[in-house]
């Protein structure tokens, strides 16, 4: 007999339990499906929320036009007035405010916003806005990493370096990056430079501190082992501290890149607004909220997508990790033989 269904069900939410591939996939889908269902319920089930009435037949109410959304009470009052004068009643269906478009409208917008040209010739296509945003993030993050990662490693490995830089960085990290907007524009002009600077400011200080903390967690005994093997300080750093922490540093960078995305919208509002933010503001001005929602969703999709890609690469980059997958790793490794199967070896 199999173990009882009750036990297996309970074990799905066991503390520190492991998930089989099937429940893993199902839960992944569910985590998106549940919010989507909630959104659909609010959009399609007439008695959930729907505070407005969308007028389909204005009847004898003068100020109604077809397609207009009015407050439910206002609609009833207008109809009551018309009924008193024995006129034709207005007809309408329950509706949500325009700023909450239904899933199918957003889905349509997702498609059409890529397919329809901008209304004015100087405006950008959605994909152009998106590429512009990604470029801003990439540049800001790259510049931050080029300085922040080496500095963080130095701080993590050498206490004197940490003492010299970290107190100030800790202080600076609390200054909100957007507050530097005006300053950045004054110094760097109104185009892309100040936006990249905001991403940089938002990332850099966290980055140094996070990297330093990860490097500090390197097993001291590994460094001691290297010392007893005659490694000079330079090699202790480059051949022990760095490789010992590099896999964790890679994961840190994924998290930090996620934070960089959260600074994007603020950054793009500075100077002349640009990128996906410009697109969103423009569509909001046209009251095309389906396009607005579509653009917001796209930011999420691009962010999640890039993180998934980085995670996939990460599992192949560090072949010594227990969760490593073969693949990319083989490119970075000289193999002189097949690994031996280790069953029962003492």
């Amino acid at each position: 007999m199999k173990p009882s269904g009750h036990r297996r069900g309970a074990s799905l939410f066991r503390i520190q339990g492991t998930l089989a591939p099937r429940p893993r996939a199902i839960l992944w889908v569910l985590s998106f499906l549940v919010p989507l269902l909630a959104w659909s319920a609010v959009s399609y089930v007439p008695w959930i929320w729907h505070p407005l009435v969308e007028v389909s037949e204005p009847g004898d109410v003068r100020w109604f036009t077809p397609g207009m959304r009015v407050d439910e009470q206002a609609f009833d009052r207008a109809n009551a007035l018309v009924a008193k004068n024995a006129g034709t009643l207005a007809v309408g269906t329950p509706a949500n405010p325009v700023f909450l478009p239904a899933p199918h409208e957003v889905a349509r917008a997702l498609f059409t916003s890529f397919a329809t040209p901008p209304r004015l010739s100087e405006e950008m296509w959605l994909h152009e806005s998106l590429l512009h945003s990604m470029r801003t993030i990439a540049l800001g993050f790259l510049i931050s990493s080029l300085i922040g990662i080496p500095l963080g490693i130095a701080c993590g490995a050498i206490p004197a370096m940490a003492r010299l830089s970290e107190p100030f960085l800790e202080f600076f990290r609390y200054l909100p990056a957007p507050a530097f907007g005006a300053l950045c524009v004054a110094v760097l002009g109104i185009n892309d430079a100040p936006k990249i600077a905001i991403i940089f400011i938002g990332t850099f200080f966290q980055q140094v501190l996070v990297v330093a903390n990860t490097v500090r967690r390197v097993e001291p005994s590994l460094i001691e082992a290297a010392q007893t093997l005659g490694a000079p300080p330079r090699h202790q750093l480059l051949r022990v501290v760095v490789p010992a922490s590099i896999a964790d540093l890679y994961t840190d960078q994924r998290v930090l890149l996620g934070w960089a995305w959260t600074y994007l919208v603020v950054a793009e509002l500075i100077g002349t607004s640009s990128g996906i933010t410009y697109f969103i503001n423009l569509q909001a001005k046209y009251r095309a909220y389906d396009n607005v929602m579509a653009a917001i969703l796209i930011i999420g999709v691009v962010g999640l997508g890039s993180d998934l890609v980085l995670a996939w690469i990460g599992r192949r980059l560090f072949p010594w990790r227990k969760d490593a997958k073969p693949g990319l790793g083989a490119l970075f490794r000289r193999r002189s033989g097949k690994p031996v199967v280790l069953e029962g070896a003492a």
């Binding site: 097993e219 005994s221 590994l222 001691e224 082992a225 290297a226 010392q227 007893t228 093997l229 005659g230 490694a231 000079p232 090699h235 051949r239 022990v240 490789p243 010992a244 590099i246 896999a247 560090f318 072949p319 010594w320 227990k322 193999r335 002189s336 033989g337 097949k338 690994p339 031996v340 280790l342 070896a345 003492a346």
Partner: protein, 299 residues
């Protein structure tokens, strides 16, 4: 408390006495002169070692034993140069020790292999640090891997190895750097009894085939008698040398010797030095609540 005198050390047979004589005649590789170490902790200073002196001859196998917390690890870390002494002096081949160096290899209880390197790259690490090129270092590393019996595992990562195998890699890695002295701090402490016994015989074989002097920390007295030429007994709080005894058990060693009188006599003396007889607690008389109503027949 009964204050019996310690059982006397059995007398070595002629061959063993001659071997120990020859050992004493060889040059001193390691000399420790009135070494002291006091840690500054938040609860005030902790004196871990006081006036420890001894020397180790070339090709000697010295074990250091003592109760837990008596300063064995501190001593071996001082020898490795990983910790600075408060007083006294350590000489290797007559030169004072100042920080860690490749003349003193170290094998830790936790394996401390580099997880990002394969077995062969781990073993080649020390060789590369001495300026050897990668190719040459790898091929020499393979010879050391053969020596510790791990041929076929060169390209595995440490996490794919068992505890005993990891410790073999650690030994090969230390030996490959050609140290004068190999310091080992309870290297087999985390292994199960069977693997441990294997590793002990294996270590003796390696020691026989490689020109190396070993300082081996353990709290397992059988292990100490089985492995060593001499045993240094430390007293706790602060750690001091209690006694210095030469093991009268003939070589080559085998596990059959454990029942021999030379082995058991040495063992009994060590036991007495480290665990002086304590008043016996009468466990029967400790009042205890009963938490069971079934199984009254258990003793």
């Amino acid at each position: 408390m009964t204050d019996r005198p310690a059982p006397a050390l059995p007398v070595a047979d002629e061959a063993t006495a001659a071997r120990l004589d020859r050992m004493r005649g060889r040059e001193k590789v390691l000399e420790v002169k009135s070494l002291g170490k006091t840690f500054e902790s938040s609860q005030g200073p902790v004196e871990a070692l006081r006036d420890v002196s001894f020397s180790v001859h070339r090709r000697e196998f010295l074990c250091i034993v003592g109760a837990s917390g008596c300063g064995k690890s501190t001593l071996v870390r001082l020898l490795a140069g990983l910790e600075e002494s408060t007083s006294g002096e350590i000489l290797v081949d007559g030169r004072p020790v100042d920080g860690p160096g490749r003349d003193r290899g170290m094998v830790f209880q936790g394996y401390t292999l580099f997880p990002w390197l394969t077995v062969v790259r781990n073993v080649a690490f020390g060789l590369e640090m001495s300026g050897m090129g990668r190719g040459a270092a790898d091929s020499e590393a393979r010879e050391w891997i053969d020596l510790v019996g791990l041929r076929g595992f060169e390209d595995n990562y440490p996490h794919q190895l068992s505890g005993g195998m990891k410790q073999r890699v650690a030994i090969a890695r230390s030996l490959a750097a050609r140290p004068r002295v190999l310091l080992m701090d309870e290297p087999f402490g985390a292994l199960d009894a069977q693997t441990r016994a294997q590793m002990q015989s294996h270590l003796l074989q390696i020691w026989k085939n490689v020109d190396i002097t070993i300082v081996f920390i353990t709290h397992d007295l059988d292990e100490a008698v089985y492995l060593s030429d001499r045993i240094l007994v430390l007293d706790p709080r602060p750690g001091r040398v209690r006694e210095h005894l030469e093991v009268p058990v003939p070589r080559p060693r085998s596990f059959e010797q454990i029942v021999s009188s030379a082995f058991q006599g040495t063992r009994a003396r060590l036991d007495h030095l480290i665990h002086p007889p304590q008043p016996v607690h009468d466990i029967e008389r400790i009042p205890m609540v009963r938490f069971t109503v079934v199984g009254d027949e258990v003793e």
